[in-house]
């Protein structure tokens, strides 16, 4: 694997146990989003990667499909300890939260009919919806002033939420369209006065 050549890279290569315990901690601490915790552990506490390396890996995982943080854990484990490392990170990240969430689900299923549990859950669910709404608003912020991007976002929204079309055909049409529009308007014109 080509070394990134960054001088402030990891001091020592983490072993399987360290990878496992590192991600175990992250999985258990990571309430309401694991990513900030993972970055803190990887970059600041254990210094497995520099901030730049982490950002680049995260960009890859955001670019590819799949849950971002889980992809980060697998790619990081692979880099240091091969497939066994990827497995150690993955299991460390997922095992404990899976056990917790199944236990919570079992408890909830048992007491779902108790009125105050049911009402409390209605409140929790409303706030959980808000969490997704807030995520959408936050990642939409860079679209401000980009009419083409806003139209692509609205077309996707309408196709999926209103028309309830299956995701695969939607992505096959809108994905290339979005990329093509971006290329035509913003990137394929080297002479255009851009901020870069």
């Amino acid at each position: 694997m080509p070394n990134s050549g960054l001088a402030d890279a990891a001091a020592a290569t983490p072993g399987l146990t360290e990878l496992f315990t590192g991600f175990l901690t992250v999985g258990l601490l990571g309430f309401g989003g694991v990513l900030p915790w993972a970055r803190r552990m990887i970059v600041e506490q254990r210094r497995w990667m520099s901030a730049a390396e982490f950002t680049d890996l995260l960009a890859l995982c955001q670019f590819l499909p799949g849950p971002n943080i889980i992809n980060v854990s697998a790619a990081l484990g692979l880099r240091f300890q091969g497939l066994a490392g990827a497995a150690a990170c993955f299991v460390g990240l997922m095992a404990a939260p899976m056990a917790v969430v199944i236990a919570a689900g079992a408890v909830f299923a048992r007491y779902a009919e108790v009125p105050w549990v049911r009402h409390g859950f209605a409140g929790l669910a409303a706030a959980a919806s808000a969490l997704v709404l807030a995520t959408a608003l936050k990642i939409a912020a860079p679209l401000r002033g980009r009419i083409d991007g806003i139209l692509v976002a609205l077309a996707t929204l309408a196709a999926v939420a209103w028309l309830r079309l299956p995701l695969l055909p939607v992505l096959l049409v809108i994905g290339p369209a979005g990329i093509g529009i971006t290329w035509a308007l913003r990137i394929g014109q080297p002479r255009a006065a851009s901020g870069r």
Partner: protein, 176 residues
């Protein structure tokens, strides 16, 4: 291994490779598959499981674990979770070293910038579909609006807001 478990694995594996922009991007399709296509649960139950997964520690895609568990027990929980995570992990590991080389390639920027609005639309769709079932009256609508403002505008820990919302509900302040 029964056919329901295999179906779960297959559905979530397909979602894994369609999840451009992270797990929340496939929330609408997950809901469509689980609620409309396979009729394993109602939209209301789906929203409940999503909320429960948000309140638990760990990656937010644990909703897959809960759905699998509800549909087919422990085997279902494993099938759904591994289905949603392993295909994309394999892909990530396969291209990780090539990625660095194309860091400044124009096509990489076009793909990233071009897919971003699609991800915005998908996550907004997921939010709307959840809101449709979790908004039961003006009180829950107001709660969702206030919580959204808090998540966007403040640095309050999300878990605090979730806990406060649950407490308001449990105290009977959100109506029947």
């Amino acid at each position: 291994m029964n056919s329901t478990v295999l179906t779960l694995a297959e559905i979530f594996a397909r979602l894994s490779l369609l999840a451009f922009g992270g797990g929340n991007a496939v929330l609408p399709e997950m809901q469509r598959q689980v609620v409309e296509v396979h009729r394993w649960m109602t939209a209301h139950e789906f929203a409940e499981l999503y909320a429960l997964a948000q309140a638990a520690p760990g990656p937010n895609m644990l909703v897959s674990t809960l759905i699998g568990w509800r549909v087919a027990g422990l085997a279902g929980a494993l099938a759904a979770t591994l289905g949603l995570t392993l295909p994309s992990c394999a892909l990530t590991m396969a291209v990780a070293s090539a990625w660095h080389r194309f860091r400044n390639a124009p096509w990489r920027r076009a793909v990233q910038a071009g897919l971003m609005p699609v991800t915005v639309g998908l996550i907004a769709a997921g939010a709307l579909l959840l809101c449709q079932t979790t908004t039961t009256g003006w009180r829950t609508a107001a709660l969702t609006a206030v919580a959204t403002a808090l998540f966007v505008g403040t640095k309050l820990h999300p878990l605090l807001v979730l806990a406060a919302a649950a407490a308001l509900g449990a105290a009977g302040l959100l109506g029947g």
